[in-house]
Symmetry: C2
Subunit: 419 residues, 2 copies
C-alpha cells in the first residue's frame, strides 16, 4: 500500500494511517477546514468534496467536510467513516490517476504542512478524564494517602473518572501559563498562595466520541466501539500543590482546569486495528454491564520528552504504552452512560495518566520524582517538577511491518505565572 504523495520512511502518516485534523492556511487564504495527513502534506477534504470525489452512498452531497470542526462528520458514524477512508485511501494511492494526474486539483487540495496551522479539530461539549492505569492509581494513592490500601476499593469495580474543564483544552503548540493558587497551610498559618510550585504533566491519550446517545439511555459495552472515532495524545497539565489542597471531597478542580493540550491529528480506530491486543485480565470480574465479549487494548508506545529553556535538545523522561491501561475504552463508554448520561459527538474521554510498572514508564513527574523527593536529571539539569520555559512533548508511534501509524506530537511550553 503506497501513495503517490511522498511519505518519508520515518513518517507517522503513511497511507495506512490517514488521521483527521482541522487546519487553516498560514497565509490567511480561507478559513478552517478538515484535512487528512499524508506524509508531509495535508489533503484538504473540502477541496476533494468540491471536486465531487466523495461519491459513495453516504457522503455524496454531504456538507460534513465544509465545517470548521469534525463534529458533523463524527456524528455520522462508522459507515460514513469507512466510506471516507476507502475514498481517501484510493484517491491517494499510487495506482489511482484521479488526483495523481490532475495538477490543478493537487495544487488546490494538497497543502505542505509548513503552509498550514493546525487548530482544535473538535468542538468539545464535555471533557471527561478517567483514571484507568492501575500503576498510576497505586502510585498516586501511595503518595497522597500512604502505602496501606493505596488503591481505593471502588477502583477495581468501575472505571473512575471526573468531569474536566472543556474551555481550557488547547491544541499542541499552545503555551501554558503556570497557574496561581492555594496550597496546604503549614501548621496554623493560612494556606500558601502563589504560582504553583509543583507543576506537572500527565501522559494521557483521549478518545474522540462519534455518535452520542440520548439522555436516559445507555450504550451497551459490546456496541461501544461504534461510538469512538479515534484517539489523540493528551497532556493533562496538573498543579499538584493546588490539587492536593482542594481535592477533598469533590475532586480535582483548579489543579487541572488551567490547561489541557491535545495533539492535532485524530488517529482512527480503523488505522489502529492492526495494533490491537488483548486487554489485561480483570479480577475481580466486572459487573455484567462492563463485561465485554472481546476486551481489547492497543499496543501504542508512548514517549515524553522535556526540553528545558536553555537546552539545545530535549531529553526523554519516560516510555510507556497505551496497553498499560486496565479499563478499556469501551468499558469507559459503557460506564459513562450506564446512568443515562448523554455523550455527544466531539466529547473527549481522557484515559488518565498512562503509567507502566517500571520506574522508566511512569506517566507524570509526581510519580517519576516521587512527589519531588528524588530528582530526575535532564542532560545535567535537575527536575522535580516543571520549570518555566520547559517544553514538554509527547509522541506515540505504532510500528507496523514496513510502516508506522503515529500520532505526531503533543507539546506545550510553560510560561511564567502572571505576576
Amino acid at each position: 500500500m503506497k501513495s503517490f504523495v511522498e511519505v518519508p520512511p520515518e513518517s507517522h502518516f503513511p497511507l495506512q494511517n490517514l488521521p483527521y485534523g482541522v487546519f487553516e492556511p498560514v497565509d490567511g487564504d480561507g478559513g478552517p477546514r478538515i484535512g487528512v495527513a499524508i506524509g508531509e502534506h495535508v489533503l484538504d477534504l473540502s477541496a476533494i468534496a468540491v471536486a465531487g470525489l466523495f461519491d459513495g452512498p453516504i457522503l455524496t452531497g454531504s456538507d460534513c467536510f465544509f465545517q470548521p470542526s469534525m463534529n458533523v462528520f463524527l456524528g455520522m458514524g462508522r459507515p460514513a467513516w469507512k466510506e471516507a477512508r476507502a475514498t481517501i485511501q484510493k484517491l491517494l494511492s499510487v495506482d489511482e490517476p484521479t488526483l495523481r494526474d490532475n495538477a490543478s486539483l493537487r495544487e488546490k487540495s494538497l497543502w505542505p504542512m509548513s503552509k498550514v496551522r493546525m487548530l482544535l479539530p473538535i468542538v468539545i461539549g464535555d471533557y471527561t478524564d478517567f483514571f484507568s492505569s492501575m500503576h498510576h492509581a497505586k502510585n498516586c494513592g501511595t503518595i497522597f494517602r500512604g502505602p496501606e490500601n493505596p488503591i481505593p476499593q471502588n477502583w477495581f469495580h468501575l472505571p473512575i473518572a471526573y468531569h474536566g474543564r472543556a474551555s481550557s483544552i488547547v491544541i499542541s503548540g499552545t503555551d501554558v501559563v503556570r497557574p496561581r493558587g492555594q496550597g496546604h497551610p503549614s501548621g496554623n498559618s493560612p494556606p500558601s498562595f502563589g504560582p504553583s510550585q509543583k507543576l506537572d504533566f500527565e501522559l494521557e491519550m483521549a478518545a474522540v466520541v462519534g455518535p452520542g446517545n440520548k439522555l436516559g439511555e445507555s450504550i451497551d459495552v459490546d456496541k461501544a466501539a461504534d461510538h469512538i472515532f479515534g484517539l489523540v495524545l493528551m497532556n493533562d497539565w496538573s498543579a499538584r500543590d493546588i490539587q492536593a489542597w482542594e481535592y477533598v471531597p469533590l475532586g480535582p478542580f483548579l489543579g487541572k482546569s488551567f490547561g489541557t493540550t491535545i495533539s492535532p491529528w485524530i488517529v482512527t480506530l480503523e488505522a489502529l486495528e492492526p495494533f490491537s491486543c488483548d486487554a489485561p485480565k480483570q479480577e475481580p470480574h466486572p459487573l455484567p454491564y462492563l463485561e465485554e465479549k472481546i476486551s481489547r487494548n492497543y499496543d501504542i508506545p508512548l514517549e515524553v520528552w522535556i526540553k528545558p529553556a536553555k537546552h539545545q535538545h530535549p531529553s526523554i523522561v519516560t516510555k510507556s504504552n497505551f496497553k498499560n491501561l486496565y479499563w478499556t475504552l469501551t468499558q469507559q463508554v459503557a460506564h459513562h452512560t450506564i446512568n443515562g448520561c448523554n455523550l455527544r459527538p466531539g466529547d473527549l474521554l481522557g484515559t488518565g495518566t498512562i503509567s507502566g510498572s517500571e520506574d522508566e514508564s511512569l506517566g507524570c513527574l509526581l510519580e517519576l520524582s516521587w512527589n519531588g523527593k528524588k530528582p530526575l536529571f535532564l542532560n545535567g539539569t535537575e527536575r522535580r517538577f516543571l520549570e518555566d520555559g520547559d517544553e514538554v512533548t509527547f509522541t506515540a508511534c505504532c510500528k507496523g511491518n514496513g510502516y508506522s501509524v503515529g500520532f505526531g506530537t503533543c507539546s506545550g511550553r510553560v510560561l511564567p505565572a502572571v505576576p
Copy 2:
C-alpha cells in the same frame, strides 16, 4: 412603575423583573428566539429588533436577538444589558405609546405564555457546581464521614467546586429517568447494581456567565459582578448511593451526570439589586484574591414542593434562602479564574445545595431524611428519597414593595429506570 400589559398581583414577572429566556411558538410558527417575560406574556425581542426599536448606541443593528440562544447577548456585557433593559422597560411601560398603541406590532411581539414552549436559554460550554452553603457542607460531611470535623479544613479557605456535566442539563418540565448504577458492596459481595435507591434533588441556584476571560488571565473579585448576567433556579438531581460509592478520590460523577434541571427565565442582577444584602462575615479572613470591597448576597426566599404521582396537590418540603450561602457569586468567579481558567459566555455556575440552619430549611432529602433514617410525610405519604412519579418543583420569589421579582418554577418528574 407599571406596564400596559396586564400583570396579576401575584405574578413573578412585573415590569421590575424582565427576565430573559428562549422560546418557540407551540404551533410550530418559526424557530427559537429570545424573549422577556411580562405578566403572563412573553415579549419577542426579535420582533422588537425587526421593528427597529432597539435604537441605543450599542444595540442598533445588532443581531444579538436573532439568535437561538442568549450567548451572543451575554458576551456583550453590562453596557448592552443596561441599554436593553432601559429600552424594554420603556417600551412596556403604561405611559409609552410606541408598542401600546400599535396593534400590529403587539400582535407580532407579545405571546401569551400558553402559546409558547420554553427552551434551554443558553449553550452551556462548561457547568461548574460549587459547594457554598456551610450548613449543607456540615450535614453532608456528618452523614458521609461522621461528626468529627465534618467540614474539611479547606472549605473555609476556598469556595470548593467540581466540574459538572453540561450535556445533561435540561429545561424545567423535562422528565428525569431514574439512573442505574453501582452501590457499595456489603461485606465481601460485589457492588450492588440497579436503579438508584437514593434518588434526591438538590435545591440550588446558578449564575449565568456573561463576558468571559482569556485563558491564562484571572478575573478580579471586585470586577467579577460584570461577568455575571443573572440567576436561574437549578435542581442538581443526585443519586446518593451511586455518589457515595464512586466519589473517592476524584469526586461525584455518575451520581450527578444523569440530569440537571434549570428554570427557563434568567433573572438579571439588575432586577435583583433591590434584594441585595450583606454576605455573612467570613472567619478565617479569606486570602487577598477572595477579599472584596463589597461582599453581597441576595435575599431570595426559596421553596421546594413534591407532588407524588397519585396526589392532587404538591406538599412543601423545605423553605430556604439564597442568603444562606457563605461564599459569594463574585468570590466564586474570582476563585474559578485565579489559576487562569477561562470562563465563556453562557457558562453555568451552580451555587451548591442551599441549606439553612433550621430543620425546615435543608436543601435536599439526604439532609431532610438524614440519609433515609427519618422519613418526611407528604400529606400522609412517607418519603426518604424520591419515588417514581414524584414531581419536584422549586420556586423563588423576592417580595418588593407592592411587587415581586420571581423566578417562576423549576420542575421535573421522576420516570422509572430503564429495565
